[in-house]
């Protein structure tokens, strides 16, 4: 198996997901109290930055299997958008609003983009 030098997409994506999960746990563990949102915003910003770093690093890889990446990624994106929609629906059903809703919605968007990127990358990296 020939190994190519690729950016650490998996490691960065897992760190990014962990950061938004920590933010979510921070908010959920204080319900129904209003807690400062700054930690959650910082974690979300760090997570979104890692997503951006991952996308930029991937875009600079030469001879990457982009056809396979996008053919897998688009369906994974659809699946995770549906899951993200269900989560968002539960938040709205529970009357979540204001800044906490914004933080959690943006976190779900990062999640719904980063997981398909990770799946598509894992598949495409083994494409000859």
């Amino acid at each position: 198996m020939s190994e190519r030098t690729l950016p650490p997409v998996t490691q960065l994506a897992m760190t990014s997901l962990a950061l938004i999960l920590i933010g979510g746990i921070y908010l959920a563990s204080h319900l129904p109290q209003q807690v400062p949102l700054t930690p959650a915003w910082i974690l979300l910003a760090a997570s979104a930055s890692l997503l951006a770093v991952n996308l930029i690093a991937l875009s600079r890889v030469k001879d990457f299997a982009w056809t396979k990446f996008f053919s897998v990624g688009k369906w994974a994106l659809l699946a995770y958008m549906i899951i993200a929609g269900l989560i968002e629906y539960a938040f709205l059903r529970d009357g979540l609003s204001g800044d906490p809703l914004v933080v959690l919605t943006l976190s779900i968007i990062v999640y719904a983009i980063h997981v398909p990127v990770l799946i598509a990358f894992t598949v495409a990296q083994y494409e000859q």
Binding site: M1, T10, A13, M14, L17, A18, L21, I22, G24, I25, A28, S29, H30, L31, P32, Q33, K68, S71, V72, W75, A76, A79, I82, I83, L86, I87, Y89, A90, R93, D94, Y111, V115, L118, I119, F121, T122, V123, Y126
Partner: protein, 212 residues
């Protein structure tokens, strides 16, 4: 979805008779769909049921979905990590391919479904019963469950799911690379074993919450 789901390997490989294995031909590889299309209506039906249960916000449907799908999640993780994984490691490669091509496509649908339903129904149940409130007397155990589930989610999303899809995509190729399949299956089994261990922690936490 045709390029992902229904791409067919050459007939000579996809439908090789088992006897070909012993005659030195490439290992027999049954035809399969990466995402079993027949299962999608069932998944859709389950998600509709979940939405109805959340909208109705009644105790029984939420308890049913959370307990039934949570039990399925726990059992599948434990079984994959501690029974199927070690068993697969001892199988000869042709038998391993047979198992992988029949088992892994089902896992593509089963795992995201049981995880989503368990967590969404569980959260709504917690809101309904007030167990997600920080004033709940067992709140520390609830937070502990968030943390363990968070670990499991990162492992499942970061390692399990991508390895699952990647190994099936590799097996769809006319000439799959055995080293790639072995590497991805190792990753899958390791991740399943790790989440299986975390499921034991979830069992401890959930039973602790139940008895108060």
């Amino acid at each position: 979805m045709t390029d992902v789901v229904t791409a067919q390997p050459p007939v000579s490989i996809a439908h090789t008779e088992p006897t070909a294995v012993s005659s030195g031909s490439p290992p027999a590889r049954p035809d399969f769909q990466i995402v079993p299309l027949k299962g999608l209506p069932i998944v859709a039906l389950i998600f509709v049921g979940l939405i109805i249960a959340i909208a109705a916000n009644k105790l029984w449907p939420l308890v049913f979905l959370h307990v039934a799908f949570g039990a399925a999640w726990t059992i599948v993780d434990l079984f994959m990590g501690f029974v199927i994984g070690p068993t697969m490691g001892k199988l000869p490669p042709p038998a391993r391919i047979e198992v992988v091509t029949r088992l892994m496509p089902k896992m593509v649908l089963i795992m995201p479904t049981v995880v989503t339903v368990t967590l969404a129904a569980g959260w709504q149940l917690g809101v309904l019963m007030g167990t997600v409130n920080s004033s709940y007397y067992n709140h520390s155990w609830i937070v502990a469950s968030y943390i363990v589930v968070g670990f499991m989610a990162v492992i499942a999303l970061g390692l399990l799911s991508p390895a699952n899809i990647a190994v099936l995509t590799e097996l769809k190729k006319p000439e799959p690379n055995p080293a790639v399949i072995q590497k991805l299956m190792k990753r899958f089994i390791f991740a399943a074993g790790f989440t299986g261990m975390l499921q034991v922690a979830i069992l401890v936490i959930m039973t602790r919450i139940r008895v108060g």
